[in-house]
Symmetry: C2
Subunit: 367 residues, 2 copies
Amino acid sequence: MESKTKHYYIDSSINTRGFGSQKIARIAFYMKVTMSAPGKIALFGEHAVVWGQPAIVSAIDRRVHVTVEGRTDSMIKISAMDLHVPGVVLTFQEGNKAPVIETDYGRIVNAVAYVRKAIDVCRKHLSLSADKGANVTIHSEMPVGAGLGTSAAVSVATLAAYTRLMGHELRPEELARLGHITELEVQGAASPMDTAITTHGGILYIRPTKPDPYIETVGVPVALPAIIGYTERESSTAEMLRRVKDLRNSNPRVIDSIMSSIGEVVESAKAALISGDLFTVGKLMNINHGLLESLGVSSKRLNDMVYSTRFAGAIGSKITGAGGGGCIIALCPGKEAEVSTAIRIAGGMPIQSRLSKTGLKLESLEQ
Amino acid sequence: MESKTKHYYIDSSINTRGFGSQKIARIAFYMKVTMSAPGKIALFGEHAVVWGQPAIVSAIDRRVHVTVEGRTDSMIKISAMDLHVPGVVLTFQEGNKAPVIETDYGRIVNAVAYVRKAIDVCRKHLSLSADKGANVTIHSEMPVGAGLGTSAAVSVATLAAYTRLMGHELRPEELARLGHITELEVQGAASPMDTAITTHGGILYIRPTKPDPYIETVGVPVALPAIIGYTERESSTAEMLRRVKDLRNSNPRVIDSIMSSIGEVVESAKAALISGDLFTVGKLMNINHGLLESLGVSSKRLNDMVYSTRFAGAIGSKITGAGGGGCIIALCPGKEAEVSTAIRIAGGMPIQSRLSKTGLKLESLEQ
């Protein structure tokens, strides 16, 4: 992977030390771990899951790869590549929480924040000292900040890779939990569903019980041919979660009732998925879209994509993820080409992607 | 009014009898009653009110006028004018339920059906014989079938006028109830709210208790500057009610929960209206719109108008009425001009209208 990605060294202090050319040689002396984790789409229940309701999510076959290699010093160097914006390298030093070089690449800085926090969470959990640095390289096959769960994938893959590098191996449930803590600390509020799905893969029904969420694999007897429509985010996930929280706090009875309605949609959808009743799944997606609309997380662009895909033959279409721009998911057996075209006409980008069974995966381990 | 409207005599049998020129003279011999009733907008709770939830509706200053005059024979002649489609005259004779001349004017025939049924309901209620015919003239200041409650206004005004013609006078509550029965018999399902608001006027909170709905006037201490956006209906009210019923019957738990959520919105909105908190009223309108979207009664055109008016400065915007095309209502203090423009840009027609206190009204009574 290293040879295929292009580095943009922003931290000149690293360049002057000549790490760029000597890195390959150093690998022989230090362990290097690459973990990958899938993106996800929320089929049902996003937002409401933050408020105690169940949700159904599916992994997709677009993944985030995180490579962690040891360093002799305490420095943490983070390189983010192929994140659909120019790559960037940031360097942190202990006792200096802000990146050495600030950039305008808001989303990348955001992705980097998850790496940084994941390493902190990992060190705290394993009682590791902060004197062992690492080079972390992130590579993504999907747009960052699109609501496809890149931040959860980055968090969990980083946790898994860093843990391995430090000679530990945690259970998947533990990694998912620590990933959720990472997201919570970066975002303020977070759903446990993103970190669970990126860890386990497949289609999961999740109920956010305490202390750990109840997770159940949903076996679907038929294929779920779906197209994702992506449009640029207007607001971040954190912003959307905060808006829903504000709306909820100013109208608790109304919003709690809507959250319960979403919970009912999820329960019905679980039964429809298990019985392979795609038509009902589609109808419930449309209902769930309206409920998300009522929470104020839709936008004109998202609605245009949702309606266009329905016109084009999708049997169900809804926002997937936090909303405020981002992605829609259209269930469209036999109409994939028409629905892709409809998404382009509505100003979005269709993302070819299949639902995937593969969760967190060890890609390579070098001594 | 007679002199201002243009008649299109389709029933040639009437023309050959020469009624066209002799009608004015005949008025002197028969009593003639003109009643008017206002259109309405649903501020909150449409659809859910059919399923037992409360709703809030407001009368508007666009009205339907119904003139009823006695005949010496048993014939009922219905003339519909100014219904934003060419006028039409249909003649019914006892024992012959279908109109003598069939036309393609689906909406007019629909309006005519309410007149016909209202007279039947009235005769049955007052145990009147069917041998007293009448000429009924309908004149509307708003588009028919736009969700502004023309059918309820036609039903109630016809009931009131025909009752008076027959020498009876019913209480407003009784007229509203008979109007609801009329709508139920024509449509199969109907909300009691349209007939209640057109009878009483003002802003009403309605809970559909049995046998009679609980009705309460909502006093609002501030003006509610609103613009109605109209787009042609794609589906009738009856069709939209049936679709929601089908959706409900196939997913009772989900849809009942959404109906309860709408009920919560209505209760919160009532409190916000009474306290004059327009900002909260607007937010609740947006929430209610999403819940209607989840019931599948929105359309791309309606959503375009809703989003455009929000961009233009509306503090709340939603479908009003049955959906499937029809009208939206945007609450837009200080932004009326911008919101009207936004509605035009989105392909709709802004309807200048004020919320009105005036309900059913006797316009004229001639002996």
